[in-house]
Symmetry: C2
Subunit: 500 residues, 2 copies
């Protein structure tokens, strides 16, 4: 169909009109307002509509054609080209194409997020992995920032220490000693640009191409990307109610043949496994440490949301058991303050500090330092503790509301995991509906839920599973959202809707 193009150009503006038209159409394509195959109005029509010269419109169309956004079919008109939005929405294809073209070092980055425009208005988003936006303490954070800016010295503004602010490392050491039982010195801590950077640096430090990395199954696919980029083969090891099946590692590791290296690294989330939420039992912890010592391997402990625990005693960190320098502990402030802060850290055995720093220096020289000092100030002034405490209560209430609603709607048809801690739980519904279909149907009710099947590599669950985050919904929204989610599941069960 002929797309009606609502283009607003500004004749008073300093930008040439053909440029303005070019920009508007290009943006419309890239944001998904115009789709592949859409017919663009004839130049004459658009010129009339905008009351400008036709040649101006033709110039813009020609530029868009030259860049591959539009295609002219003789006798039919001008259309949005087939691959016009390739580089926004189909990164995988783009990557494959590039691989052929120029032999770059590309990875098939499965989790690369692309901008998706919703066709539904989502009022109940059970997104996980983010803090509650409405209570981010921006006022206090801003005060810490301003205080730091006011006291800024050349030392702070210049190329500072690669390992990061000593003040912040001291505060983190204090927090980890008291709340995670890790006997840590500030000298063992390196500040990184988010926990992600710590993981990437560790991959670059430990992995040689072909080496095997033990990962939990299920796990976030992003992790696989990180290890793949350094050339590792990821060995997914199943997780049960006690956490990683350490006894399975030896069976699953591939024999070292040509091109396959040893398993030198294991990545675990012991306090609240992602996405199942289970806690690694003490027995398994000791088994895992034994394995590492026996194999001369290292363990990465990602403690991504250890701050919030609602039931039972807080579990100590695995790193607290480390006596032989085999564990690197990784944390961040993304779930407590906000992800865009990008302040994470690695706690390293003394012998690994300098090797880690050598790579950290090359990756970005250092993490921005004004924010590091501001964070040290924020912790020192007690704002951090106050905030964590408030959040703990808030999230506990939300969690209860979620569990209550789930039990009411699904009764015995549901099992949930990981409700004792963190900011999400994993549910498994005793049903044979397709989880993607339920999620798609739920969107019709303004509810977004997250199928968890994609996190499993080798051991797909029989039943549909979902990760439900609850940090950003109030109790009432949780209640309504789950009711609608249950309705979506019923819709799919009764086969009225197979795909949305």
């Amino acid at each position: 169909m002929v797309q009606e193009l609502l283009i607003d150009i500004d004749k008073a503006k300093n930008i040439p009109l053909n440029r303005q038209i070019y920009e508007r159409i290009r943006k419309a394509i890239l944001t998904g307002t115009l789709h592949t195959g859409d017919l663009i109005p004839p130049s004459r029509q658009l010129a009339g509509q905008l009351e400008i010269s036709r040649s101006v419109v033709i110039q813009a169309y020609e530029q868009l054609q030259a860049e591959g956004y539009l295609i002219m079919k003789k006798g039919s008109g001008t259309f949005v080209a087939d691959n016009a939005v390739l580089h926004l929405s189909q990164s995988k294809n783009e990557l494959n194409r590039m691989k052929i073209d120029s032999n770059l070092n590309l990875i098939d980055c499965s989790s690369h997020e692309t901008a998706k425009k919703d066709q539904f208005s989502v009022k109940y988003d059970f997104k996980h992995g983010v803090p509650a936006w409405d209570v981010v303490p921006m006022d206090q954070w801003q005060k810490s920032l301003v205080r730091t800016c006011r006291q800024a010295t050349p030392d702070l503004l210049g190329y500072g220490p690669v390992e990061g602010s000593y003040a912040l490392r001291k505060e983190i050491a204090r927090l980890l000693r008291s709340s995670r039982s890790i006997p840590v010195e500030p000298e063992q801590i390196v500040i990184t640009t988010g926990a992600t950077q710590a993981l990437d640096i560790l991959a670059r430090l430990f992995i040689k191409p072909g080496d095997q990395v033990i990962a939990e199954d299920p796990a976030h696919s992003f992790l696989h990307d990180i290890f793949h980029l350094s050339g590792a083969k990821v060995v997914p090891v199943p997780v049960d109610q006690q956490g990683l099946r350490v006894d399975q590692i030896d069976k699953l590791v591939m024999p070292q043949e040509q091109g396959t290296g040893p398993a030198k690294l294991a990545y675990v989330t012991p306090s609240h496994q992602f996405p199942t939420g289970v806690t690694l039992s003490l027995e398994r912890r000791l088994e895992l440490l034994d394995w590492a010592e026996r194999e001369g391997a290292y363990i990465i402990e990602d403690d991504y949301d250890s701050e919030y625990r609602y039931v039972g005693k807080k579990v100590s960190a695995l790193a607290g058991l480390d006596v032989s320098g085999r564990i690197v502990y990784v944390g961040s402030f993304s779930k407590i303050l906000f992800p865009a802060l990008r302040i994470g850290y690695a706690v390293l055995p003394h012998a690994l500090v300098q090797p880690f720093l050598s790579i950290k220096q090359i990756t970005d020289r250092m993490t921005p330092s004004v924010e590091q000092e501001a964070l040290a100030d924020f912790i020192r002034n007690g704002q951090y503790a106050k905030h964590v405490n408030q959040m703990g209560k808030l999230y506990a209430a939300k969690r209860s509301a979620l569990v209550l609603a789930l039990e009411r709607e699904f009764g015995k048809r549901i099992r949930y995991y990981g409700d004792q801690a963190g900011l999400h739980l994993l549910i498994e519904i005793n049903s044979n509906v397709c989880e993607e279909a339920v999620a798609a149907r739920a969107l019709h009710y303004g509810v977004r839920v997250y199928p968890a099947g994609c996190y499993f590599t080798g051991f797909k669950p029989d039943n549909p599973t979902f990760v439900l985050g609850y940090s950003n919904l109030c109790e009432e929204q949780i209640d309504v959202g789950i009711r609608r989610f249950a309705q979506a599941e019923i819709d799919c069960t009764s086969r009225e809707v197979i795909t949305a």
Copy 2:
């Protein structure tokens, strides 16, 4: 000798006394207050001095022994151990030791900066690569930060786009189009955590182990580190008054034998070569582009201090000549605002944007975003242009003072390069003194100068050369500093002082 240990412990504090003693001694060793071989007071003596139980002191000493900081020699006493400060001051040795230990992926990171304590008080520091600290517009920057914090939305605080803030990319595109003549769209720009990260990502994208990378000789050794980490062999190509000797590339590239890959990448600093300061001539630019097209190679243009030019017309960026998508332009705000900001960017040919983003996402997901928005605000409000303009005048005056002082003190014995732009110049003294000896002697006069011999790989200059930065000295300091520097050179020439 028996070190007199001034340890202040706080008995009222919540920290066990043995821990306090342990901490104090450890710190004294790490900061250099205690040196290898220093005798530690007997436990009985320290216990008496501190009026505490001797067993407490013994506990602390035992812990320090266990960790290798102290060593007990029967009959002689307790000493600071031989390798106690290894991991602070001798990172190279540490690295080598680690290499043997555990087969990690280590690089011999030649530029890893270690904390050095000066024995001289330096009043005249000709440090290069940093902006003038006294005029960093912190008040205005702080206002932009606060404005951004006040308007912060969940979109800003969460995991935002990997490529960075659109507002900032738009401002950068505008700046590059107007001041660097690069026809760039915001969509081609990716914000990175400093220019360093852009270079590392490009190395990871382009280089396979064994590939060759063309680098300027001289160059900063840090660059070699970046390329080495990705497995490249760096091919240093000499620089003359016209910049990189492009005609030498084919002669210097190694034939592709086992393990040696092709030269697929060249790194250049065309507008103000580091450290010589020369500008790549138009002829050479075209030759270099020809080379890249012929070889299917890519060029990284690092425009690290293009903002300041004092003589002649501003030189356009090499990227402005690129018609075949072979140039990646890299810039940062380190020299204009301050290095600790860690905001840099890469300008990529369209086809490379997605591949670059896939790696950027893995390295740190995204660069901190509050600061990106604040920087967009700072540019949009005209503060950036105002600041660059003011700095231009300030640095021009400093540069004149430096050239004047050099001509007065050294007359025709000196040649200088790169005085038309940037924040430093390179000087060559017609003399046979050792540049390290002159630098060491200058310290006696409170002057720090930077020998440049270390930047040359294969083509060492015959004469002593120095990089002199002038951004952080006032005109009077420059004048006095150069007079004293000249005196140091005379001291060394007259052989009164060979080594300081």
